[in-house]
């Protein structure tokens, strides 16, 4: 188990390296002068430009520039946004808790809805209930997350007045109210895949030989469903977890934008919209690193749950 962990950790390194190179290249690929881009694209004083040139070593060769930048990144220095007059890392640190809370709430809501629905659909396979659930999943999947968000705002914030429409509050618990709508919108979007995987997993488990053995033992149907079938059915969820995380990140960006939430997603979008390159670079690198780490965590969790994986 430990060796598996070590191996996966090592695999992380080249991926991170490639990602960092790509992020680094964004600014350098553009036809404009990197210094101007890094300054935020506006008219900056020659002094500022000179300072930028020095800091990012723009005079030197590309590999050296990369090393300087990457070195800084490893130390926690992701550059400074001249437009916003703040260091990128501090902005990320400030906004991180909110995004994390959003992500967590979305994941939990999504699983809390998808798994039971998937089990019910599978247990009643072919019935009208199954078809309704599947149709619901299809509709949820096909609706853009910002549309669901807007409809949510319309219904729950404007018409019913139950929840706030935009922004965020202070601290974890107050944020709960603000983040409920956005995470619900996001969860709705994501649950289609988990639902289908759970349903397929359950159907396969229910048709398996070991479930037949469990029934032959005289186990009550509920035990068979929950203790034997479900445990196996949940395993494929981990296989698609990587895809889910991708959906999640994309959705987070869109949802934060739609609901005016000051998280890392909106930081990235605003950065792109205003061509604030230090922000774009820093935020993108952070998101990619986060993505890779979460993937690793999921893989490890998978190995912990399915004993057969540890030997591969």
């Amino acid at each position: 188990m430990l060796s598996y962990f070590a191996r996966r950790l090592l695999q992380l390194v080249p991926a991170l390296f490639l990602a960092s190179v790509a992020v680094f290249a964004i600014v350098r690929l553009s036809p404009s002068d990197p210094a101007i881009l890094l300054a935020g694209g506006r008219q900056s004083s020659p002094a500022t430009l000179a300072a930028i040139r020095a800091k990012y070593r723009l005079g030197e060769s590309l590999p050296r520039q990369y090393l300087a930048w990457a070195g800084g990144a490893l130390r926690g220095d992701l550059g400074e946004s001249y437009r916003l007059k703040q260091s990128v890392s501090s902005m990320i640190a400030q906004r991180l808790p909110l995004t994390l809370q959003l992500i967590l709430m979305s994941m939990l809501l999504s699983l809390a809805a998808a798994v039971p629905l998937g089990v019910i659909a599978a247990a009643n396979k072919g019935s009208a209930l199954d078809r309704i659930i599947t149709a619901f999943a299809l509709a949820a999947l096909s609706s853009p997350v910002f549309l669901t968000g807007i409809v949510g705002i319309l219904v729950f914030a404007y018409y019913l007045g139950w929840l706030p429409a935009f922004g965020s509050g202070e601290g974890f618990f107050e944020n709960f109210r603000y983040l409920l709508l956005p995470s619900a919108a996001l969860a709705l979007n994501m649950l289609a895949l988990s639902l289908r995987v759970t349903r397929n997993g359950m159907i396969e488990a229910l048709g398996s030989n070991y479930v037949q053995t469990a029934i032959a033992k005289g186990l009550p149907r509920r035990s068979v469903l929950l203790k034997h079938a479900l445990r196996n059915a949940l395993i494929p969820l981990f296989t698609v977890a990587g895809l889910q995380i991708g959906f999640l990140l994309t959705g987070t960006v869109l949802v934060e934008y739609t609901f005016g939430i000051g998280g890392i997603g909106s930081l990235l979008v605003n950065g792109i919209q205003s061509s604030d390159y230090p922000v774009i670079q820093g935020a993108t690198l952070f998101v990619v690193a986060f993505f890779l780490l979460v993937n690793l965590a999921v893989d490890l969790l998978y190995a912990a749950i399915d004993p057969r994986i540890r030997y591969s």
Binding site: N209, T213, A216, P307
Partner: protein, 333 residues
């Protein structure tokens, strides 16, 4: 010896929309009658597709009710099973009747420890809490001849060999000391060397507990010293039944003769193995006449016209063949 199991006119058919062109209904079991006394052992022999597995699964109602039609009477200790609710069946499964399946690798839950799965069966039947059930299960492990029982108890199915797993399955099936054990091809997926051990384990356990046994197999060789009676199935029907030793020495049905002929025997080295030409009729088919007729070397006109009924040919011997009285068939000594 009292009557434990009585099956009358059992029919099992499956809906198969993929074969709509042929009627869409696969008739796997076409009316069988069976009687089994308590503590008796019976072999149910037939090739794959003969309906033997479908028949025994019907006893425990393991078929998918949405796709399967089961009719006929199945009485266990006098109680009619087809009239029971699912709840009542749950009470019977594992306790009165148990089953050991063909492939132990897929018949155990891959993500649960083997010991826990055995303990589960123990606790279900004896109402023990987790700890006591585990202790009992561990004892059973040892008694079943599983080496280093403590170590293996905590392991997962994929860490076991097929033979070991099948032992665990047998323990699970017998945990509640059921009155009837159904073993559906318990050795087919195992090495030849292990097969004997498994069959012996079943035999030992069953004598100890006084359990009746239905041993389902396609291999006549397995049957010889293991069961008191045997019934041969072909195309969903029983074509011959009687005491095992008598049947093997002198079969009354051409199919049984063919099966025995096909067994490799010492002293026949270098000879081509005998087979029965042709194929079994399709489960969708409804041909008139004896289902074995197309492949029978003794076939005559009446065979094609009417399905022979299972009739008593001698005491304790029944056969479904129009020409049973005339034919003098070869068995194995």
């Amino acid at each position: 010896m009292s009557e434990l199991l009585k099956i009358e006119g059992l029919e099992v058919s499956f809906d198969d929309p993929a074969h709509r062109g042929e009627g869409g209904v696969a008739r796997a079991v076409r009316g069988i009658d069976l009687v089994l006394g308590s503590n008796e052992s019976l072999a149910l022999v037939g090739e794959s597709g003969s309906g033997k597995t479908a028949a025994v699964k019907a006893i425990m109602r393991l078929h998918d009710p949405t796709k399967t039609r089961v009719s006929g009477r199945i009485a266990l200790e006098g109680r009619e099973l087809s009239a029971m609710s699912e709840r009542e069946m749950e009470g019977i499964r594992g306790r009165l009747v148990s089953m050991v399946f063909q492939d132990p690798m897929t018949s155990l839950n891959p993500v649960l420890r083997v010991g826990d799965q055995v303990a589960e069966a123990v606790s279900l039947s004896r109402g023990l809490n987790r700890r006591s059930a585990r202790a009992v299960a561990l004892e059973l492990f040892a008694k079943a001849g599983i080496p280093s029982p403590e170590a293996l108890f905590r392991r997962y199915p994929h860490e076991f060999s097929g033979g070991m797993l099948q032992r665990a399955m047998i323990l699970i099936a017998l945990a509640a000391s059921p009155k009837l054990l159904i073993a559906d091809e318990p050795t087919t997926a195992l090495d030849v060397t292990v097969q004997v051990q498994i069959l012996e384990l079943i035999e030992r356990q069953r004598r100890e507990l006084g359990t009746a046994l239905i041993l389902v197999t396609h291999d006549m060789g397995v049957v010889a010293e293991r069961t008191e009676r045997a019934a041969v199935m072909y195309a969903g029907r029983i074509v011959e039944s009687g005491r095992t030793l008598e049947l093997l020495a002198k079969p009354l049905h051409p199919y049984s003769e063919g099966l025995l002929d096909a067994l490799p025997r010492p002293g026949t080295r270098g000879e081509k193995l005998k087979t029965i030409d042709g194929f079994a009729p399709s489960v969708f088919e409804e041909a008139p006449g004896c289902p074995f007729a197309p492949r029978c070397r003794y076939v005559q006109r009446p065979c094609l016209a009417e399905i022979p009924a299972l009739t008593e040919a001698a005491t304790g011997r029944r056969v479904a063949c129009h020409r049973a009285r005339e034919l003098d068939l070869r068995g194995i000594a």
